[in-house]
Amino acid sequence: MEGMVLSLKKKYRVAVAWAQDTNSIGALNKAVKNGVIDAVLIGNTSEIRRTCKILSVDENIFTLVESENEILASSEAVRLVKIGEADIVMKGLVGTDKFLKAVMDKENGLMIPGSVLSYVCAMELPEYDKLLFITDPAVIPFPDLGQKVAMARYAVEMVHKFGIKKPKIALIGASEKPSHHFRYSADYSEMCKMAQEGEIGNCIMDGPLDIFLACDKKSIAIKGINTPVNGEADTALSIT
């Protein structure tokens, strides 16, 4: 994932809500020092200065904004992004519910009307040769068809940013056999049709697949199952 930095073309400004904890300040320090971002730290500024001192981080590399509490700090961070003073909003030591309340505020928040809110995460494993993008491990408990389609589109959009023109998506299940016992089966079959018709974006989709068929080439050979998701062609499709 270190390689992501090389794809960045310009420096962005990050507004951080209640940015007082050591992990946030440590990570922001690394990002500012590497020339990736500028950061506005909103919170209890004397506390922020104290944390900087403990970590031997130069507080002058950040812009500090005083705020009374975590709720006000969250809405201020969102406001800075809303008015274009910052490009990215980040949660510091504030609770997720309070932070997201500011993000999702109908008038002053950052929601796109009608859009699905979802979470995509990238994972790098020391013993696996692919970067895995997992969706959705955090926001939508039981996605319906429309939400699954949105999740797929977001993940495809993210992988495109990594320079892959035609990403592969495995729709994960307990087995490759569709079954009425598994509620995902109907959605998955609909999604594969949509993908073939180009409705999900430029991607190769297959499912249901279990984790082995999706991620392990040897299993494909053993089971004799043919899936376009896993195979030698993967990296050849990438432009990086």
Partner: protein, 64 residues
């Protein structure tokens, strides 16, 4: 390095999957909320410094 998207049928399956990999297979993660006007970085408060750093870099990639 190749890339592969795994779409899970529910949070009940995806969440233990990724946490299992972080704990037992030393996975490094970077995640992002999608569907907003601008990137929103939300991590668990206990997330490591390096994971938070990767999240910040990922969010920069996603600025429209």
């Amino acid at each position: 390095m190749g890339r592969l998207i795994l779409l899970f049928p529910s949070l009940e399956s995806s969440n233990p999957f990724y946490k299992g990999l972080v704990l037992f297979a030393k996975g490094e993660i970077a995640g992002l909320i999608m569907g907003t006007e601008k990137p929103v970085v939300v991590m668990s408060r206990s997330e490591s410094e390096i994971s938070k750093y990767f999240c910040i870099v990922l969010s920069c990639l996603m600025v429209k």
